[in-house]
């Protein structure tokens, strides 16, 4: 063990950072793959179907656990078709622009009190800036495809994301006021003290608005007008095939996991135990923080799937109304409320 630590400290910083990135990315990619499987299984059961149950390993079906691997291999070997008159360079860059921010945001994500790749002061701002860049992948894909349906999808997506980003940003301003820091680690530490001390309670409206805006930002049902398969085929990625399509798919799921993780960090106390400060706190001392964080993240990841199986798609004007006329005023009012609570040291969150 000692030798290992010594070996680690002897490595150049660049190699250390690269290894840390791999340690974050590898589980994330596996999680993304099995999230797609979970989606098909869960929605299948909600609709009284079996979901995928054929592809397994070594001749065993294993409830279809081999399905994501089979899908990935299939997509990798499919031909990438570039439509006539498409802008080839932008057409191929668009998926990368879509997945890049979704992965880069994990750099400032604290998995435990000490487990963070880059402990930067302005972490929250960094996350917000990066999540706002995901829209470029969608817009450029829609434009470069040289297809009317793609362009329609891109336009819808652009308007929607700009609208919801403001609500999302204001919700985060509330968190920032409450925690008094832009550093994600410090935001979690400010919520110390168990279930009732987490920010979901004093910031309840912001919590709901942040998560719903997150659903809208990731273009998931019921806000999936950018894809809208019953109206505009598949929206911005209608012309994509093979691996280029797979990258869009990966980006969407990586974004969903990111939003779930951030919601868990900012409103559900991140890696902290929900039993803190209660009589049974010591029973759960052995549980590592990352397990709590994962459990909290899974709650929101499940909600994404549940929403998709439950709600019909919003009409476009309803989406705009919700974003501008409902969410925005509520967030502004609640920021004032939070500020007053903070100044008056409202028990027991801010004293």
């Amino acid at each position: 063990m000692e030798g290992l630590v010594e070996f680690w400290n002897g490595l150049p910083v660049v190699i250390q950072i690269l290894l840390k990135i791999i340690v974050i990315m590898l589980p994330l990619m596996i999680l993304v793959a099995y999230y797609t499987y979970a989606e098909r299984k869960i929605i299948g059961h909600m609709q009284v179907r079996m979901g995928p149950n054929r592809v397994g390993f070594f001749g065993f079906r294993l409830l279809g656990l081999g399905q994501p691997i089979a899908d990935a291999v299939k997509l990798m070997f499919k031909e990438i078709i570039v439509p006539t008159g498409a802008n080839k360079l932008l057409f191929l860059i668009a998926p990368m622009l879509s997945i890049g921010p979704a992965l880069a945001a994990w750099a400032v994500f604290p998995f435990d009190a000490e487990w963070v790749l880059a402990d930067v002061n302005a972490g929250l701002l960094y996350v917000l800036a990066l999540t706002s860049l995901g829209v470029y992948g969608v817009i450029i894909a829609g434009w470069a495809s040289n297809s009317k349906y793609s362009l329609l999808g891109a336009m819808r997506s652009a308007a929607q994301i700009v609208a919801y980003e403001i609500a999302m940003g204001f919700a985060l301003v509330g968190v920032l006021v409450a925690a008094g820091s832009l550093n994600l680690r410090e935001i979690v530490l400010a919520q110390q003290g168990g279930l009732l001390h987490w920010y979901w309670l004093p910031l309840l409206p912001l919590f709901v608005i942040y998560f719903v805006s997150g659903v809208a930002e990731t273009n998931r049902a019921p806000f999936d007008v950018a894809e809208g398969e019953s109206e505009i085929v598949a929206g911005f990625h209608v012309e994509y095939s093979g691996m280029t399509f797979a990258v869009f798919f990966l980006a969407e799921y990586a974004n969903m996991i990111l939003i779930s993780g951030l919601t868990a960090l900012m409103f559900l106390g991140g890696w902290m135990s929900p039993f803190q400060g209660t009589a049974i706190e010591s029973w759960f001392d052995w549980v590592p923080g990352i397990i709590w964080l994962l459990l909290k993240t899974f709650i929101f990841m499940f909600l994404f799937l549940w929403f998709r199986a439950t709600f019909p798609r919003y009409r476009y004007d309803q989406i705009m109304r919700l974003g501008w006329k409902v969410f925005l005023p509520i967030t502004i009012v609640w920021i004032v409320v939070v500020s007053v609570m903070k100044i008056q040291h409202a028990p027991w969150w801010f004293n």
Partner: protein, 201 residues
């Protein structure tokens, strides 16, 4: 050359290259995308100057929102490039005068005699826990509060003006008030009656 210096020159070269591309590309969508690249690189430069708040705000506001709307508009418009280029020669003299004036001003302000290290010493690097955001907020809300509030009021007037310019009453739309929509109950619209089956003669 230290790594930071290398980064500075990297960002600077990309910034200038992207800025040149913005004004030379024929396709306006390409120009907008190069402008996005230029913003990114200037954000990188600001980051190197230890002003992380400005750098991230630049990405968030300009790249994340303003340029998206720019792209939106540019993609929707069917811009006739020949028409745009038509006035080039006619406008060239005025443009040249403006360009030369600006270059002259920049040279006067930024020349080594007036802007060298001996006039403005390099600031000492801040410790790692120094929060640029907090300092900026403190300065804005204490020292510069009036300027800040006035800027805010001007922006508000701008918003009101923009909305009132685009707002129009259209009595012919079939818009439904969502408030009334959700208050509809089945009992108001539907009557279930019981009756005996009609017998056919």
């Amino acid at each position: 050359m230290s790594f930071e210096k290398f980064l500075f020159y990297l960002f600077a070269v990309f910034l200038i290259g992207a800025a040149v591309m913005v004004i030379t590309r024929k396709n306006p969508v390409h120009s907008v995308l190069f402008l996005v690249l230029a913003f990114f690189n200037s954000a990188g430069l600001w980051m190197l100057a230890e002003s992380e708040f400005l750098a991230l705000a630049l990405v968030l506001v300009y790249v994340g929102a303003v340029m998206v709307l720019f792209l939106f508009v540019v993609m929707m418009l069917d811009i006739n490039i020949a028409e745009l280029r038509a006035g080039f020669v006619r406008n060239l003299p005025v443009a040249l005068v403006v360009a030369i004036l600006m270059v002259a001003e920049l040279v006067m302000v930024l020349s080594p005699e007036r802007f060298g290290l001996k006039h403005y010493a390099a600031p000492a690097p801040k410790p790692a826990d120094y929060s640029n955001t907090a300092e900026l907020g403190m300065a804005l809300f204490t020292q510069h509060i009036y300027a800040f509030e006035i800027a805010g009021a001007i922006l508000l007037v701008g918003i009101v003006a923009a909305i009132s310019l685009t707002l129009r009453r259209r009595p012919d739309t079939k818009y439904l008030d969502p408030g009334q929509q959700v208050q509809v109950r089945a009992a108001d619209r539907l009557r279930v009656i019981e009756m005996k089956p009609e017998e056919k003669a």
